[in-house]
């Protein structure tokens, strides 16, 4: 039986299982070629978000701030905004400047689209970069709402009308640079022309540089994002996206849409949604769709990868069977993880997300083959609530970001690090989640963690397991 906690039991949030909206928007904007994000707010927002991202990606992450002063908070930040844009242009010569709002600029009612227009009017005869703006007040939703808002803002700003071409849009959601590289390989193996939005596979995971580069390479060019409007179809990964009813922008009376939905409505680009492709079933769905779009059968090495994954499921089935997992983090990652765990016989016993879409239970029910024996779902949850409930659900392992480490350390059980942030392990950029290949890596990590746990706890100390 599934039980969902009906409301947040504490007034305070104690060790939050979420980050603020501008962070998600900045991650997405880093996936645009030649793009510098500008956070319209206090200097700290940009610096904190940079530090948080740098600790995960271990890359330079330059994000500018309009560095609000007291005067700006009272009389408006237009002067600082203009100075900020001009200084970014001088320093970075960007192809695109992507602006996010903050709780501060939203609360004082800054009209950023107007600020952009004014700047463009004054500097009209200069060679200006493209501008895009995502409204990301941090009191609405989580970093994932910010991420999807930014992706939507990109297609709204740049998608163009025209004759439909043969390409496909892929909106992958908030996944790792390695996942993005994998997805590109898959699309290329199917010989599909594509627009991947965002694509920070390089910009947040650069190879070593010969020369220090202010603007990291990689990212989807603005002209390519324009083509999302003339693609023949979109694929987007997720169930919840930014459309949870509780994080919806009621005050703006605008419809909450995903990028794919927007393109379908306004540009007639057929939209296909599915959860993050984790596990055989979800990957099969993804590959079936690619077969349909490309008219090609799945290339041999992906078929083999799938075969090896099933083979390993078989080899490892007894090690994982019946184990009890706590899964936490962003709603879409959590839902996909729960589905994957079901197909290998691991029971999800507690699911926690800092987000509060109101959709978590419904989507989990939809995706699972059968109703689990007992599953506690905690939306709008935090790590302290998770810790308090953890012992009672008798978990064998946790799956999610680094931040539950203090809980698993106390319980003495393994933590499989997925998603964001991974601040206490090396190679977060290269952690894979998606596709047969990513599932394989995740499955191997889970099996090995359980084997290691058993080995360490064994009084015998077998070296042959």
């Amino acid at each position: 039986m599934i039980a969902t906690t009906p409301y947040k039991p504490y007034a305070s949030t104690r060790n939050a299982c979420k980050l603020c909206t501008p962070l998600g928007a900045c991650v997405a904007f880093k996936g645009v070629k030649g793009c510098v994000p500008l956070i319209h707010g206090s200097q700290g927002c940009a610096t904190y978000i940079r530090r948080y991202m740098i600790s995960h990606y271990r890359e330079p992450v330059d994000i500018a701030s309009s560095s609000f002063s007291e005067e700006a908070a009272v009389f408006g930040g237009n002067k600082l905004f203009n100075t900020g844009i001009t200084n970014i242009r001088k320093t970075y010569q960007p192809e695109c400047i992507a602006i996010t709002s903050t709780c501060l600029s939203e609360t004082i009612g800054e009209d950023v689209p107007k600020l952009i227009k004014e700047y463009q009017a004054v500097h009209g005869d200069e060679n200006l970069p493209a501008f895009v703006y995502a409204s990301t007040p941090s009191y609405k939703g989580t970093h994932l709402d910010g991420f999807h808002e930014a992706v939507l803002a990109l297609v709204k700003a740049f998608a163009k009308e025209g004759k439909t071409n043969n390409s496909v849009n892929l909106f992958p959601g908030f996944v790792s640079p390695e996942d993005l590289r994998y997805l590109k390989d898959v699309l290329e193996d199917f010989e599909l022309e594509y627009q991947l939005v965002p694509d920070y596979s390089e910009s947040l995971d650069n190879p070593n540089w010969e020369e220090y580069t202010r603007m990291p390479e990689g990212g989807t060019p603005v002209e390519k994002i324009a083509e999302t409007g003339i693609a023949r179809a979109s694929i987007e990964f997720g169930h919840v996206f930014n459309k949870g009813n509780l994080s919806a922008k009621a005050s703006q009376k605008s419809k909450v849409q995903t990028a794919g939905e927007y393109l379908e409505e306004h540009f007639d680009v057929q939209n296909y949604q599915q959860g993050l492709p984790m596990g055989i079933k979800a990957c099969d769905t993804f590959f079936a769709y690619l077969e349909k779009l490309s008219g090609k059968t799945t290339p041999r090495h992906h078929v083999k990868e799938r075969g090896r994954l099933i083979d390993s499921y078989v080899d490892g089935h007894k090690i994982v069977f019946g184990k009890r997992a706590v899964v936490y983090g962003e709603e879409d990652l959590v839902i996909a993880t729960v589905a994957f765990l079901e197909e290998i016989g691991i029971q999800s016993v507690m699911v926690v997300s800092g987000a509060n879409s109101g959709l978590l239970e419904k989507k989990i029910k939809q995706i699972l083959d059968k109703e689990p024996d007992d599953l506690l779902i905690i939306p709008d949850g935090d790590f302290e609530t998770m810790r308090e409930k953890a012992a009672a659900v008798k978990p064998d392992l946790f799956i999610g970001s680094s931040k539950a480490y203090y809980i698993t350390r106390a319980l003495g059980i393994p933590l499989i690090r997925t998603g964001f942030p991974i601040h206490d392990r090396f190679g977060a950029q290269r952690v894979m989640h998606l596709g047969y290949k990513g599932t394989q890596q995740l499955f191997d990590r889970i099996v090995n963690a359980l084997m290691e746990y058993k080995q360490e706890k064994s009084p015998v100390g077998y070296k042959y397991l």
Binding site: Y10, A11, S12, T13, R14, N15, A16, K18, L19, L23, L38, G41, S42, Q43, G44, C45, T47, Y48, R50, R51, Y52, I54, S55, R58, E59, P60, A64, S65, S66, S67, F68, S69, E70, A73, L80, T83, N87, I88, T91, T102, C103, L104, T107, P137, S138, Y139, K140, T142, N206, N208, W209, E210, E211, Y212, R214, A250, S251, G354, K403, Y406
Partner: protein
């Protein structure tokens, strides 16, 4: 190359021996410059963070609390309430209708649950704008619960990180002098401005205690509310990280007549001075003898161990960019001790006096910079050919992408770098990073050898 600096930034960059004018500092960060600084809230948060048995609750939307959850290497010998992140997690409805009830409820439930000795309530950007009377709520909760509940009005836009330090000092000032229930010796001191990163404070405490001095309050490393409340009873304040704590030291001098001295615990010279000057202050020969004995014992162990590193690092060049300028001064000296020359030095929050000292200390040609950014820092490294960068997490990828070593000297580090033991750790870390074999693959000159070029041309 200098034309690539933003025009609004030129006064904050000087090269010793070149420009006559002194450096500009203590300015608001330039919009769009990608400053490495954070905000007022950050300044307050870092100063108060290590008060271990207090509740720290951040009033605002979730980000500010998330990004400051258990990120510092500040250790506790007692309770660990401070390692959690508590937030009122304001939502849209609070922005519209106000967040006072939310704050009241959050404080009340957390105080009941955690039984902290005091509560610090940090205001973030929007709190003033939505009209919350945080002071009134704090007063009410204080009366109801019988513990100090202190508003820390650290809205991010109200100045710079340095202003946040001052606001934090004012909050601490409100605790100081509120209790008189501790036996404090006339030979006693408070340690101000050490944050007990990787247990550094415990090493210092051990040194002073060996000299026969009682440590009264540690502010704020391994900090205890009761000790802070009794801090006015110490005979002396020793102040490290003067950028953040001078305000409190001056305040305590004015209110309680406690003299203070600026010290640093990084490097042999400064560490030893910190002990001798304290002995001098108490005008006690026994203390002085003990200090001398301690220093000579420690140096007896340390100097032979350091000579290996000095030999290996001789002539290498370092760039320093840290939060406080006083630390930068110590680092320049510590680097000299291991044979290294500082070619770039800068800080986020240094003041005119700090920069004057730095300028006097550094060699001709050293670049001195205030409130820098990745673009400038990468230029400086290239221009000077530095072999090593000393900074924090945000500077690390700059160093690594430029193919030079890096030493983390920020508040997130988990290695003790203060004291004599810390000096050795520092030398080890610098050595490990500056002489690693991995740089052979990153330096441009090693990529294409002339032989290979020849072969290519022939082919």
């Amino acid at each position: 190359m200098e034309s690539s600096y933003l025009s609004g930034r030129k006064g904050q960059i000087v090269t010793k021996g070149k420009e006559g004018a002194s450096i500009e500092c203590s300015k608001q960060s330039l919009a769009g410059s990608v400053s490495q600084r954070a905000c007022v809230f950050c300044g307050s948060r870092v100063v108060l963070y290590p008060v271990t048995d207090a509740l720290h609750i951040i009033h605002g939307p979730i980000g500010c609390a998330s990004y400051t959850w258990d990120i510092r290497g500040a250790l506790s010998s007692g309770r660990e309430i401070y390692r959690n992140s508590y937030s009122t997690d304001l939502r849209e409805k609070h922005v519209i209708f106000g967040g006072e009830t939310q704050l009241y409820n959050a404080l009340t439930e957390l105080i009941a649950e955690l039984k902290p000795k005091a509560a610090f309530v940090y205001s973030t950007c929007i709190v003033g704008l939505i009209g919350d009377d945080v002071e009134a709520i704090c007063k009410k909760v204080q009366i109801e619960n019988g513990i100090p509940v202190l508003p820390v009005q650290s809205e991010g836009f109200q100045g710079s990180k340095k202003d946040g330090y001052k606001i934090a000092c004012d909050a601490l000032g409100k605790l100081i002098g509120t209790r008189n229930d501790k036996e404090v010796s006339p030979i006693s001191l408070n340690i101000l401005g050490d944050f007990n990163l990787a247990g550094e404070l415990w090493m210092l405490k051990d040194y002073y205690e060996k000299m026969g001095i009682q440590i009264n309050a540690t502010i704020t490393g391994d900090g205890r509310v009761d000790d802070i409340c009794n801090a006015h009873k110490a005979a002396l304040n020793v102040v490290q990280c003067s950028g953040s704590m001078m305000h409190l030291a001056k305040d305590m001098k004015e209110k309680y007549g406690i003299p203070f001295m600026k010290v640093s615990y990084f490097g042999i010279e400064d560490m030893s001075d910190a002990l001798y000057e304290v002995a001098n202050f108490f005008k006690d020969d026994i203390l002085f003898d003990r200090a001398r004995k301690l220093v000579s014992e420690e140096l007896g162990k340390l100097l032979p161990a350091l000579s290996f590193y000095r030999e290996k690092l001789q002539g290498k060049k370092a760039a320093i960019y840290v939060g406080g300028a006083f630390k930068a001064i110590s680092l320049v000296k510590a680097l000299r001790l291991i044979g290294m020359q500082t070619v770039v030095v800068g800080s986020q929050t240094g003041n005119a006096d700090d920069y004057q000292l730095l300028t006097e200390l550094c060699d001709e040609g050293t670049i001195i910079v205030d409130d820098s950014n990745p673009n400038e820092l990468s230029h400086f490294v290239k221009q000077t050919g530095a072999d090593l960068f000393i900074g924090g997490v945000k500077e690390r990828p700059i160093a690594h992408k430029m193919g030079i070593g890096f030493c983390d000297h920020n508040h997130e580090r988990k290695e003790a770098l203060a004291g004599y033991e810390g000096m050795l750790n520092f030398a080890k870390e610098v050595y490990a990073s500056a002489t690693s074999p991995v740089w052979q693959f990153t330096r441009k000159t090693t990529i294409a050898t002339p032989e290979m070029n020849k072969a290519t041309t022939r082919g």
